[in-house]
């Protein structure tokens, strides 16, 4: 086999999200059973709105769960997450095309 294997993830952010969650768990910041309970609850709630497709829906539910989880534990409160997201957005908008994007400060 010489062809590179396709990614297991549809989008790079899904891979980052997966790695971030597993890294938090492996570093002992939360137990996996607690994670699966929270994630299962999100999937269930979203599934009553419409059937979840297992791909894009799945990682959207994963992200929502992790954000809620980290807000509850205080590791990444929602307001701080929103501020940091806005800072990244601003950094992208002022960085000339082709140059690395960095957060100020």
């Amino acid at each position: 086999m010489t062809a590179p294997a396709p990614s297991r993830f549809d989008e790079p952010w899904q891979a980052q999200l997966f790695a971030l969650t597993v890294a938090l768990n492996e570093a002992g910041h939360f137990g996996w059973p607690d994670w699966t309970q929270a994630f299962g609850a999100t999937l269930k709630r979203r599934g009553t709105e419409r059937p979840q497709d297992g791909n894009a829906d799945y990682y959207a539910a994963w992200l929502e769960t992790l954000e809620g989880f980290l807000d509850a534990t205080g590791h990444a409160p929602k307001a701080e997450a929103a501020r940091t997201k806005a800072a990244w957005e601003a950094a992208y908008l002022v960085t000339p095309h082709g140059q690395p994007v960095r957060l100020k400060g």
């Binding site: 989008e11 952010w13 059937p51 701080e80 997450a81 992208y92």
Partner: protein
Amino acid sequence: MPHDHSDHDHPHTLLPSDPALRVKALETILVAKGLVDPSAMEAILDTYEHKVGPHLGAAVVARAWTDPAFRARLVADATAAVAELGISGRQGEHVVAVENTPETHNMVVCTLCSCYPWPLLGIPPGWYKSDAYRARAVREPRKVLAEFGVTLPEGQKVRVWDSTAEVRYLVVPMRPEGTEGMDAVALAALVTRDSMIGTGLPGPPR
């Protein structure tokens, strides 16, 4: 004076999607607080993108088909048996191997979320994580199997195993007929991902 610069549409770096920015924000915060090590994240990505996958589970099944003592150990304590092959589960997870027989066909689902034997099969396919499969595997397994192209003999029962955060199941399919002369490496090539989830059967000998 008319002017057009070809770059007009993208004077700045393209903005990533909303979820991509949200993930980036979390990562920035957690790394800054020292809660997550970027190199640990890279190692995790490398493992799940390049190292683990169904080929590992297939090697376990092929070994079970060719080594009766290993098969006995696998059925008794799969976590310990797969560790012999250098496959370690994530912390606190147990692997349970369920063997198909002429009487019983096994099939695996996670009705809670998407629990799956990552170290043996890698990241689960989209259908395994879909509501359609998660809801129907338990309710109408034969119908689901038929959609996967699997029709079982009438006398063979279907047993559905619901995975949890603590227990992950690996289906050990029956060794196909006509494979008597094949070694473990050749046999492993017949063992498909779906046959280890129970939604498929191993391929015929080539």
